[in-house]
Symmetry: C2
Subunit: 222 residues, 2 copies
Amino acid sequence: MKISELSRRSGVSIPTIKYYLRDGLLPHGQVTATNQADYSEEHLRRLRLIRTLVEVRRLPVSAVKEILGAITEEGDLHQIFGIVLDARPATRHQKQARQEQTAGQDEAPGVADARKLITEMGWEVSSSTTAIQTLGAVLDALSAMDSDINWQSLLPYAQLTDRISELDVQQMNGVSGLLELAERAVLVSVLLEPALLALRRLAQEDKSARLFSGSRDEGGDI
Amino acid sequence: MKISELSRRSGVSIPTIKYYLRDGLLPHGQVTATNQADYSEEHLRRLRLIRTLVEVRRLPVSAVKEILGAITEEGDLHQIFGIVLDARPATRHQKQARQEQTAGQDEAPGVADARKLITEMGWEVSSSTTAIQTLGAVLDALSAMDSDINWQSLLPYAQLTDRISELDVQQMNGVSGLLELAERAVLVSVLLEPALLALRRLAQEDKSARLFSGSRDEGGDI
């Protein structure tokens, strides 16, 4: 297809496509005439993944290059999932955790509790997964607040998020091709995050209204 | 109690307490002698909430003042929940949504779908809740990506988040006093967010390993 059709079908503007071509994110098409090149469905798939990584994941071009390179090398969806998820910018908690580690300090007590929770759930995860640090930092923050919410209190949450993750992997059904799978992994893992938090917020407002509201109407504009 | 004990029990340094006193976030204690004041349990509770709002919610002092003022006025936990949750910094999606609205444009199609989901779930929420805009923006982004994930696909997620919100409100059990309830509302609604996303990430890695991994070991260092 011509670059104009590639642009139309991908939703990426021609100038942006040309930028990706110059930058090496997108391989050049087959030259058919002076100033004209032919682009394949593979170009389209790759361009859509680039668009998703840049627009949804807000990744710098350098990180997109890394991911595209890794996807081309790896044939394993589990690894693609990991690449896509781990490329995520570290949260404040994760940064704190890393600083503590680089400062050569011991693992925070919350991280040890996070590992207990993971064992209790029977989850097979890499011990270096940053999510363990995030979870540990939250548990540390809770105990610093003298809160009685601890890793055991999070078990029912873990059971529900386990079921959410089953829905997540179901979203990969019927998707074939590494680029499409990687794109879907980004959509499901990253783009759904604000949606899940928004759903929780809405459900909280509903429960809060039913359980705590003295008068429903006054809660109206919250 | 003396300011030294207030500091010890709240985990807030004396200079910070003095700053909060000067700034009016914390009412002055009862003067017992020159350069000495007596602080009550109420001071401690208020100080702990301030600490939570500043350290956990990362709110500016001005916003903390607003919340404390509102909590003192409102006697309704539903309203406190709303105050605490709505004081949240707007996400990119919410800002976009607001810009679109201020630009006088029509409601995005995703927002209409978000309202369908809310109706389907039977949730009683204010139509102005920003979470509706967030959810709508995600649905718009998904369709812009030509993804087949739509508001119906999110229903099973909504059912699980509904059960999560039931766990959330259970965390308020046995907590009494508006300041304590507000503090707990912040802990549960805000501090648990990164924990829930981390739990989902861990569960995803587990499912991904079980379902997609060619060889478990290679997934090791993801």
